[in-house]
């Protein structure tokens, strides 16, 4: 029962590795978020645009991305893309997978924001004969974004925590560093607890921030 005690020496020894992993985790989160926001917006534009064949196809793609596990999608990208001659470094594959999976969710957020605009406003726009770009850029999107931004913030936090799965495709991020240190020192208590703390220290303040943002948006409404 030597493992029962918390050993500060081990904790200090593994901390530098963990912090190196954390920077990779943040990188993957940022890259994944950018991909998720961009693709999500693309999916929404296509779905709202009601283009024959293309819109239903994108709709099916979004349902598929939402109906299958992120872990298996990640394996698919990691093992299958190279067989088609597309060999990306593990981190890029991970960020791409993260962005692709969450683009289905951000697309729903954008759509919900647009659909929340009351029918009366569309009718008023038509009655006033506003040009199409002013309807979208001046009326619909500003209101949609006010609803979407806090929800998108929540998804960025979720993505931050979900980057732990990139450890399964050899990305040496935070969780991978911890399990590595565990197998190296045969002590799992310190590295895995520290990793939990590090995730918490970043995600909890971020969640409070998004929460505050939500309330500010609600007051101004």
């Amino acid at each position: 029962m030597t493992g029962l005690r918390w050993d500060w020496a081990t904790a200090w020894a593994v901390l530098p590795d963990l912090l190196r992993g954390l920077s990779l985790t943040v990188e993957a989160t940022v890259a994944g978020s950018i991909i998720a926001l961009f693709l999500g917006l693309c999916w929404t534009i296509v779905r709202v645009g009601r283009i024959p064949v293309v819109s239903p196809a994108v709709q099916l793609l979004v349902e598929f991305l939402r109906g299958t596990p992120f872990l298996v999608q990640l394996y698919f990208l990691f093992y299958v893309l190279p067989t088609y001659g597309l060999t990306l470094p593990a981190l890029q594959t991970g960020a791409l997978g993260l962005g692709l999976y969450y683009s289905a969710y951000t697309s729903e957020v954008f759509r919900a924001g647009i659909e929340a605009v009351p029918a009366g406003q569309w009718e008023s726009c038509l009655t006033l004969g506003l040009p199409l770009w002013r309807v979208w850029a001046g009326i619909v999107l500003p209101q949609a974004m006010r609803i979407a931004v806090p929800m998108l913030g929540n998804y960025v936090i979720v993505m931050f925590k979900e980057t732990a799965l990139l450890s399964t495709i050899t990305v040496m991020e935070l969780t991978a560093q911890a399990t590595n240190a565990g197998f190296r020192t045969f002590r799992f208590v310190e590295p895995l607890t520290l990793v939990g703390l590090l995730y918490f220290l970043l995600s909890y303040p971020a969640a409070r921030l998004v929460h505050a943002l939500e309330h500010r948006g609600a007051v101004q409404h």
Binding site: F64, G67, P69, T83, A119, T175, F188, G196, S203
Partner: protein
């Protein structure tokens, strides 16, 4: 695809395992969600703090780290759980922490005046809960519950990382045995997608039953839940 064929039964035997973990974890999640929500609404401060600490811990850290913690760290403290138990425990408590917020907001949406009226009418506590609170609270919770069930199905793929032989675990083993990743993972993804569609449909049936039990207008409920038709008028998207 041809190489995969003899291994297909081996892969598909992961389906019952995946469904078993999903079912057990979702049951635990619902129980935990109600317990945590009631804890956070409790007049007794230590219960509020305890429930709050559990919820924030599970929501603030990565699920995979929690799973590894239960699998690698708990044995150091003398708690040796079988992989399946550890997996169900972590998945259930994690999802339960998220779902407790749904339960909490549903419970707080009941106006206090109604409960005061029920007390004034001298209705017994059990009657107040089952006939006044639940019929209003359950229908509201059903759509997020559906998301939770499908989310849990996908979430269970993580248990493959602690040696539970579910679909994902078997897919990985078969891939390294036959080397054709494209076929193996395509089939695995399709199986998950099929299961998600079936489970989603099942939850919608349950939702209808709950609405009927609660005396809700099925049409109104369906309209609120399934407003699939876009509200964006055609003139705003088609080039003129």
């Amino acid at each position: 695809m041809r190489a995969l064929e003899p291994y297909l039964p081996l892969l598909l035997r992961g389906i019952p395992v995946t469904l078993e973990v999903t079912a057990l974890a979702i049951c635990l999640a619902v129980a935990a969600a109600f317990a945590l929500a009631l804890g956070r609404l409790s007049p007794w401060a230590p219960a509020r703090w305890g429930a709050g600490a559990v919820v924030e811990t599970f929501r603030g850290t990565s699920a995979l780290v929690q799973l590894f913690w239960a699998f690698y760290v708990l044995p150091f403290f003398g708690v040796k759980l079988p992989p399946l138990t550890a997996a169900v425990l972590v998945l259930g408590l994690n999802e339960g922490s998220y779902f407790s917020e749904v339960v909490r907001s549903a419970l707080t949406s009941i106006r206090t005046g109604q409960l005061e009226a029920a007390v004034a009418l001298h209705l017994p506590a059990r009657y107040r809960f089952f006939r006044i609170v639940l019929p209003q609270v359950l229908p509201v919770m059903m759509p997020p519950f559906g998301n939770s069930v499908v989310g849990m199905l996908k979430f269970t793929s993580l248990v493959s990382l602690v040696t539970v032989q579910d679909l994902s675990f078997r897919a990985g083993a078969i891939r390294s045995a036959i080397g054709s990743s494209a076929a193996t993972y395509s089939v695995t993804l399709l199986v998950y997608f099929g299961l998600a569609i079936i489970l989603g449909g099942g939850v919608r049936l349950l939702e209808r039953a709950v609405n009927r039990w609660a005396g809700r207008d099925a049409h109104a409920a369906a309209g609120a839940a399934g407003a699939r038709a876009s509200t964006v008028p055609a003139w705003a998207v088609l080039a003129r």
